[in-house]
């Protein structure tokens, strides 16, 4: 294990997550020894459900009896236990470099940046997947995928993922739609896609990308990483805010804008939740100020509840 992986894999996080079972809600591709259900609702022994025919579906799975009775094309889906193909999409744009805890120094301790939090989460999830024999891949992107590793299940893949996450990067502005669209076309088989990002960018593009991934049959989850400062906006005194991605700056008395800021933030979070629900993506808000394992437990517990 490299130095980068050791940094991303916080022992206390792994220790707590290891006690949990990683359960996907029902759509999992790959094999994870009897615990995961395959996202391939193909020719299995146990019928699961009918669904509308989508162009591209295997004509062999069209239920012709239903077509004969109802004059509509449906395909039969079967539940099949399979291994998980987990793809972690980590937002590496400039906005992820924000490191909080400096709003009211010296009281606030310096927290990890959003990217560091995202990397920790991603590495931990990869480790969980790999430890269960699943395949895990990872991609770091901003306006395009900067670095990527395809999902693999070999044990050494974790180090490669950690190295990828810890590698130096030249962060630029984010652009979700081409990234997600590209991934949707390149991911060979259905699996689980977890987007770890602050989602600060073109939200319509995010929705379109996620919708395409969802349409490709991927199980989606969003780990929305936000810094405590971004959520609470506790700044005092004259401050000049300089955009990490937007080429703009604003000198103001932060408290005079706090109400409006929180108002806009709430609207943003509500929109994100609504759009995540639209594409049936699990949404979990992660604060950089909280321990990552707490966030992961919350994420996995919810998925576990949804799976049962």
């Amino acid at each position: 294990m490299t130095r980068g992986s050791r940094r991303s894999l916080r022992p206390e996080a792994i220790a707590r997550i290891a006690r949990l079972e990683l359960r996907a809600k029902g759509v999992v591709e790959g094999v994870l020894a009897g615990l995961h259900k395959s996202p391939y609702k193909g020719q299995s022994v146990e019928f699961l459900q009918h669904r509308e025919y989508i162009p591209g579906d295997d004509l062999r799975r069209v239920d012709w009896k239903v077509w004969a009775r109802q004059d509509r094309l449906t395909v039969k889906e079967f539940e099949e236990e399979t291994s998980l193909r987990l793809t972690l999409l980590v937002d590496g744009s400039a906005s992820m470099d924000y490191r909080g805890g400096r709003a009211a120094p010296p009281a606030g301790a310096v927290r990890p940046s959003k990217f560091e939090t995202a990397a920790t989460l991603a590495a931990s999830l990869a480790w969980l997947a790999l430890s269960h024999g699943d395949a895990a891949g990872c991609a770091v992107f901003d306006d395009r995928v900067r670095r990527g590793l395809p999902p693999r299940s070999r044990a050494t893949h974790l180090s490669e993922i950690c190295d990828l996450l810890e590698a130096p990067r030249n962060a630029g502005p984010s652009d979700f739609q081409p990234v997600l669209t590209g991934l949707a076309s390149t991911l060979p088989t259905r699996g689980m896609v977890i987007l770890v990002s602050d989602l600060l960018g073109d939200r319509d593009g995010i929705l379109r990308g996620l919708r395409l991934l969802r349409r490709r049959g991927h199980d989606l989850a969003i780990l929305h990483v936000m810094d405590d400062d971004e959520l609470d906006f506790p700044f005092e005194g004259p401050t000049r805010f300089e955009g990490l991605e937007l080429p703009t700056e604003l000198t103001c008395n932060p408290r005079s804008l706090r109400a409006g800021y929180l108002e806009a933030l709430e609207a943003f979070l509500a929109e994100v939740r609504r759009r995540a629900a639209e594409v049936q993506a699990d949404y979990t808000l992660v604060r950089t100020g909280e321990p990552p394992e707490v966030a992961l437990v919350r994420f996995l517990a919810r998925r576990s509840r949804q799976a049962t």
């Binding site: 470099d97 959003k114 700044f235 000049r240 408290r255 804008l257 800021y261």
Partner: protein, 743 residues
Amino acid sequence: MPSFGFPPLLWWGLPLVAAPLLIHLINLLRHRRVEWAAMEFLLASRKKYRTRAVLRQFLLLALRTLAIAGLVFALAQPRWRSSWAGLFGGGGRHLVLLDDSYSMGDLSPGAGRAIAGVESAYDRGRRVVERIAADLAGAGGSDELAVGLSSELSSGSGPPQLALEWLRIGPGELQQVREAAGRTQPSWTAAGPREPLGFAAAVAAEGDAPRTAWIVSDFRSRDWQADETATAVRQLAAAGWGIRLVDCGLPAPPAGNLAITRLEQVGGVPAVGVVLPVEVEIRNDGTAPARDVPLELREDGAVRSGLRIAEIPAGGSITRRFEVRFGEPGGHVIEARLPADILPADDVSRAVVEVVQAVDVLLVCDDPAASLDHGDALYVSAALAPGAGAPTGLRPRVESPATLARLDLTPFDVIWLLDIQRLEPAVIAALEAHARSGGGVVFFMGPRTRPEVVNQTLYRGGEGLFPMPLAGSVEVLPSPDLPDLVAEDHPVVAVLAGRRNPLLDAVRVDRVLAADRSFDEAGSPGLRRLLSLRTGGPLLVERPYGEGLVAAVLTTAAPEWNNWARGNPAWVVVMHELQNSLGHRRRQAEGLRVGERFMVSLVPGVDEPTVDFILPSDGALVRRGAEAGPDGLRASLRLTTPGAYTARWQRLDGTERERLAAVSLDPTEGQLDRVGRAGLEQTLAGVPFRYDPAEALQPASDSLAGVPLAKPVLLGLLAVLLLEQAVAYSASYHPSPIARRRA
């Protein structure tokens, strides 16, 4: 319109109003930098709340500026005065009568500084003038102000001059008032308040405008306990003036002022080489005795050995006599100087002595040769000029009455007429003119003197030269027990005064020309006895005549009717004292006070019409003589500083004339005791006036300075501060509770 109690505070404090803006700008420069990801929410917030935030910031800035302005405003003691009076042309008239007598130069240490400093009662007075002007300027600018100095208003020559003519006072005129006050200095005069008060009473009222007389003075008891002053104030109040008394004196009674109140030659013959007695009088106006006081003396500017006075009692005076002797003829200046004290002006005094080569004395007798051989002239001239071994400075000259008509009598201080039988009317007229112009005349009686002639030609019912009418020759019967002569209380015979003086006791008077019994000595103005006979009759009398003196000895000079001149030293002494006494008036140098005029009479056809006055500062002023009645022209100079003045002019024959005058201060002005508020209330009982010490001068009344605004301003300031706190909290300039908890 607002006025201010402390306008300078306003001008100094107003720049502080810019402090909130500066702090705001500095804070903008001192902001913290934060690289921020969620700019879109921030920009959205600003877009929504920008107007509100900016308005709130401006409001906060305005409130803070207002708070500081309010504080400065309140500290400057604002007052509100309605400008209605100004609109209706009813602005008041304010006449400041500034006491510039030399006591205002009082440098008492109570003023919080050393003697060598700059603060004096007069300095405080000037500040009071500026303060009054500032009050008026702040009160709407509809009031008029004039400033008069007591010395100028008391000069008595020409129309009174104001130091600042009537001026409508607004903020723009303050500098003019300040400069006018700054140009003035304490004078050397002792000008009192009466003439300035009279001047104010004569200032005409204009409509119903209120008039206020501000009397800015040190209020010395000498001036303000006088009935005349109280009368003048009453007249002023009756003329419709409001009376404001502003005391620039010190709160504590002054202590330790010594003043030279007199310095003069007191006799002697002012001739070259002759010792002259000079007296100096020093008064202690303090409350404690002055001990071991050195007195510096100067002759013509050169320091000579001085005096040291052991003690001068508190409130008392002491006189010391010293002698001077000058080796050159001409005018000589004697100067006495005390160590500088709280009132330096009266610590120096000067006197002028006009010294001649010798003083001519004219002895007139019917037979000069015989008289000089064994008669009256012998004994008188021997007494006045005994010889080279005893220089007296006197130069007797013996003439007969016939020559008097042709003789210029001007050079003779005293003319001695020794048993003259008869004088021609022209001679009598010349003698009378001589006496009127200050000369002295001494008559000795004798066997040739005819009482009826004396009465007819010389006494003339009291109009003539002779001091009393004569009755006739009377024999004085001898007495074995009592002396024939009795010395009266007179400086000439003071040396002989006493219970029994052996020299005087030795004098035997056998015969006199007795005074007419019907003559009323007491009813004759100015008549004084110097010596009396045992019988009660007069022997030696004197009477002023014009500016001079006439003495009459009712017996002979030669030891014919008496034995006085025969070997009795008292004879010499009395003759010298008589000569000095009668001649002193003629030779007495001008003793003038500051504020008076130095007058020189010019005779048309004899004198040039212009006179050069040489000032103590060595400067010179030329004055042309002005008509002064039938006698001729008169050139004069108003004396403004103490010291020695010289008047020089030329006669048409080319000769130069010169007169000296020693100008001194009025010593009464050195009495620094002050009347105080209680004394003024007593003296000015019934007169409405307001009294303020200079350092606590308050505006005249609300009608002058307006309603005090300090309290409402402070309440407004409190409201502004509360509002500021609320807006500051609302604008999030206070630390949030969350941040405090975190801290």
